[in-house]
């Protein structure tokens, strides 16, 4: 996992609600493709026209948003399919942090597995940041201090699960942490087998 401490950039306002993971990465891009190289397919249906050329109307094809590490989003970002390719594709196009009022639960969990930071802020704060964002209006997201610094310098604190925060700061993986509980797991297994052998 890629560690995360802080990022700075022009926060791109992609504020529609219910942006689903099918829109973030079409399933066809995930059939037989690895984790790498998905950046070019992120938001493919919005980013490219039918003839395969870039759609100049799509926000992330425009300056200063192209390649930004920070997305501002609407309610329920990343809803729908569990495909982790949505996170790989966003990271592949350089995104390290998405700020939204709420996230799809599975997408939210997938973000932390890969080093993409999902930040929950109220929609009004997101709109405030969006209004100030631009080539000279940079936003910083600081996980160490748990704060978003808006382009005007306003510091907006955010909450993040302390367990997930530490894992992200250190780039730690859950498997190693879980395997530390091998004895508890073995004991649980034996007990469950006795109590509910049909399970």
């Amino acid at each position: 996992m890629t560690p995360f401490s802080s990022v700075t950039g022009p926060a791109a306002p992609l504020l529609a609600a219910n942006v689903d993971t099918d829109v973030i990465i079409p399933i066809q891009a995930l059939v037989g493709t690895g984790k790498d190289g998905l950046g070019g397919q992120a938001f493919a249906r919005l980013r490219y026209r039918a003839d395969g050329t870039e759609n100049p109307d799509f926000l992330l094809n425009q300056q200063p948003w192209r390649g930004t590490p920070i997305l501002l989003a609407g309610e329920n970002f990343g809803c729908g399919s569990s495909r982790e390719g949505a996170v790989w594709a966003l990271m592949g196009m350089g995104v390290r942090c998405v700020i939204a009022p709420s996230f799809g639960d599975i997408f939210h969990a997938n973000c932390f597995q890969n080093g993409l930071l999902p930040v929950r802020l109220p929609m009004e704060a997101i709109r405030r940041i969006a209004a100030l964002s631009g080539a000279n209006g940079l936003t910083t997201v600081d996980l160490e201090r748990r704060v978003v610094i808006a382009p005007d310098g306003e510091a907006i604190p955010f909450e993040v699960d302390s367990r997930k925060r530490e894992a992200l700061l250190e780039g730690l993986d859950d498997i190693a942490l879980t395997l530390r509980h091998a004895e508890s797991i073995a004991a649980f297994r034996d007990r469950a087998q006795t109590e509910r052998p049909w399970q």
Binding site: N76, G80, S81, V87, I106, H181, I185, F188, W198, Q199
Partner: protein, 463 residues
């Protein structure tokens, strides 16, 4: 006084991890072709083994052709995924329901059908519609690839306990109202994010009266309300459904299990984080008009006008959805011309769904301009339907009778609805491009889909 969800969760906590996190034991892990092979390979690459291979079941469904007479080679890119799944299952000792064998099918159709998912169990799968399996009273949830690798390697997952959200459906349904209509209505009422961070429990007299297959449909769309988990308390209907299935407990073990399962339902005075009631008197057959399952209306109703939106942002979202769908604000839904009909998916591809669709055919043929597909959810469903002669009714009506798999629900198998074509689909997602780039999807019940194929337009199945 615990809810059913909390009771089952508590039983599966291996150890608490602090800050509200638990290490949760998994009774079952399901794999499919799109992510299963890779997850197994990643376990091996870390120098680990699958911790509990006998608890893991794999079936190819996503990237397999549904063409009659298909083999793995019919869709070559999918064949590579299946090869990887086969190889890695063999290396790790994981049971595979391979293509063409009688247990094969869509993972969430197969698990209840084979008795793999049982009341009181925890189950995880790298697919968001894993919530379907909660229809028998299990805590079943979708996970991503990384969590799947962890689950296989440790048979556990660190999880944060969600809140609980009960929806009681009370009263008797009107004729022609199906489980699909009921859950679409609920999503329309509460919204696509209402269940975020929650485990849903569906209760009430209308749910008690449902078959297990209807309950699976109900739970299937939990994720479209944002909830990873949807459940229905197990009862005699559940037990009759599970008795005698391949992997259900037998003999004395069945009796012990049954005694345990009867104690699972939520206590009468259990407290839920959120509790809502929907009267069946308010629910008509539904059809979606937009690009989120929450954008839904009664089939005899209209697309809303933009003035009905609750905020400027919602108005903007509706306008974008209607532009994509090629619909006008305020227009009647019934009578809208349809090009494709898809009956299938883990939502609505079970034998009762196929019976319901066949029942509206009445010896008629599909409209000439409509392409209509029926994709049974599993080999078992297909065999049962053919034994009942349903396939003949579909074929006589000009529908295609195809091979089991996810097919046009997710369009990951080389099959798709063409750009601009309007599809009435029994699946679960009307997202932009879901059934193929530029495809326009209306979600509805099997009866509505079949009837719309006959008329060549969106049609109320009761009309």
């Amino acid at each position: 006084m615990p809810t059913m969800f909390d009771r089952i969760w508590d039983r599966h906590v291996v150890t608490t991890l602090g800050d509200g996190w638990d290490l949760l034991w998994l009774d079952r892990i399901l794999l499919h072709d799109l992510s299963g092979g890779r997850a197994l390979r990643e376990v091996a690459e870390r120098g680990l083994r699958v911790a509990e291979p006998s608890r893991v079941f794999a079936t190819p469904d996503h990237a397999v052709s549904s063409a009659p007479g298909r083999t793995a080679a019919t869709f070559p890119r999918g064949a590579q995924l299946l090869d990887s799944l086969r190889r890695n299952c063999a290396e790790q000792g994981v049971r595979l329901f391979d293509l063409g064998t009688r247990e094969n099918g869509i993972v969430h159709v197969v698990a209840p059908e084979q008795g793999i998912v049982l009341p009181g169990a925890t189950l995880a799968c790298g697919d968001s519609h894993t919530c379907t399996n909660g229809g028998v009273g299990a805590v079943a949830f979708g996970i991503g690839s990384s969590e799947l690798t962890q689950a296989l390697a440790t048979n556990c997952l660190p999880q944060r306990r969600p809140g609980t959200f009960r929806i009681r459906f009370e009263g008797t349904r009107a004729p022609g109202v199906t489980a699909k209509d009921i859950i679409l209505h609920a999503i329309g009422r509460f919204g696509a994010a209402a269940g975020t961070g929650m485990a849903l429990e569906y209760a009430g007299s209308a749910v008690r009266a449902m078959s297990v297959e209807e309950r699976l449909t109900l739970c299937n769309l939990s994720i479209e309300m944002g909830a990873r988990v949807g459940m229905v308390a197990p009862d005699d209907t559940t037990f009759q459904y599970l008795a005698g299935r391949s992997f259900s407990p037998k003999g004395a073990l069945w009796d012990r299990a049954l005694a345990d399962w009867r104690g699972l339902p939520s206590d009468p005075d259990a407290r839920f984080t959120r509790d809502e009631t929907i009267s069946m008197a308010d629910v008509a057959p539904q059809i979606t008009w937009g690009t989120s399952p929450e954008q839904v209306a009664p089939i005899n109703g209209s697309v809303p006008t933009l003035e009905q939106a609750r905020s400027p942002a919602e108005s903007e979202a509706w306008r974008a959805a209607l532009d994509y769908m090629g619909l006008e604000p305020g227009q009647k839904l019934a009578g809208t011309k349809v090009d494709w009909v898809f009956i299938g998916s883990c939502t609505n591809s079970r034998i009762e769904d196929l019976r319901a669709a066949a029942a509206v055919l009445g010896g008629r043929k599909r409209a000439e301009h409509v392409t209509a597909w029926v994709v049974p959810g599993s080999e078992a469903v297909k065999a049962q339907a053919e034994a009942e002669g349903l396939h003949r009714l579909f074929l006589d009506a000009g529908f295609e009778w195809r091979e089991p798999g996810c097919a046009l629900c997710v369009a990951a198998n080389g099959e798709s609805v063409p750009p601009g074509a309007r599809s009435v689909s029994t699946s679960n997602r009307n997202f932009v491009g879901r059934q193929g780039t530029g495809s326009r999807t209306h979600l509805a019940s099997p009866a509505t889909a079949a009837r719309s194929a006959l008329e060549g337009a969106i049609t109320d199945p009761r009309a």
